[in-house]
């Protein structure tokens, strides 16, 4: 078993290699090591989802979308099971939507982005600056689908 802190430490080490050394291969190797730790991590529910989402973000950054997508989906599923944090669920849905759009799965992306916006609106005022970006993401996906 590994702890959430160990997973995070490993992910941050990978991120630093990517940031400062710009060595994608080495960063990916370290990211995969963090992913192995995540596989045996001792937390469940949304705490596990947060780790999955953070790793998804790392793999998106290094361009490994095949590893990113299942993690992003898992983060959403785990956040659904908790449902106590609408702002986080909304963010995870929009992240997954943007990723799927990037991967050409725009129909699913649009539905998730709209769901994400609805979830975020439960917890935020319509003038929240974060929402401007979500509206922008939805508009972009809609344009691609036209």
């Amino acid at each position: 078993m590994s702890t959430a802190q160990e997973v995070e430490r490993a992910r941050l080490a990978a991120k630093k290699v990517f940031m400062f050394e710009k060595d994608v291969a080495r960063a990916s190797e370290l990211g995969i090591a963090a992913l192995s730790l995540y596989g045996v991590v001792d937390v469940v529910g949304s705490k596990r989802g947060d780790l999955a989402h953070a790793l998804a973000g790392f793999f998106r950054e290094v361009g490994d979308l095949d590893r990113c997508e299942p993690l992003a989906r898992e983060a959403v599923e785990l956040e659904y099971s908790d449902a106590a944090r609408p702002a986080i669920l909304g963010d995870y849905l929009v992240f997954l939507a943007e990723l799927l759009h990037e991967r050409g799965k725009s129909a699913e992306a649009l539905s998730l982005a709209k769901e994400g916006l609805a979830v975020l609106l439960r917890d935020a005022s319509p003038s929240d600056p974060e929402l401007i970006f979500v509206h922008g993401a939805i508009a972009k996906i809609e344009r691609a689908l036209r």
Partner: protein
Amino acid sequence: MHSNLPKGAIVERVSPGGDDWVVYRDASGSERFRLRSAKAKTLNEARPGRNRTDNANAGINPEGDVFVYEGKHRSIGNSQRDAVRTERGGVVEQPGVLDFPFEPNPVPEIGVPVKDLPKPDSQNEGRQ
């Protein structure tokens, strides 16, 4: 900068002028960074597309300034007057101040001021 620290916080380090950042240990024992975003630095521009994460990390660069590893979009936005929710590192009644986990390892680079960087999403909104 010291006002509004969480109950039980123990201040460990303060920026030379006293108003740019504070490293403190919270009640759970974690080291955290209370920082003024307009004075923070990071490596480079945030890439388009957000990770939509609450993850954040900041350390101290060789010049003694805050260096943001994670939470770039938020730092750039906050330094340019965007509000940041508390669950994402914003601080109640302290606009322009963020509260991130502290990364104690030395930062290898100085970085550039986040306040001079463009806000990526607004700049690239509508890109395809």
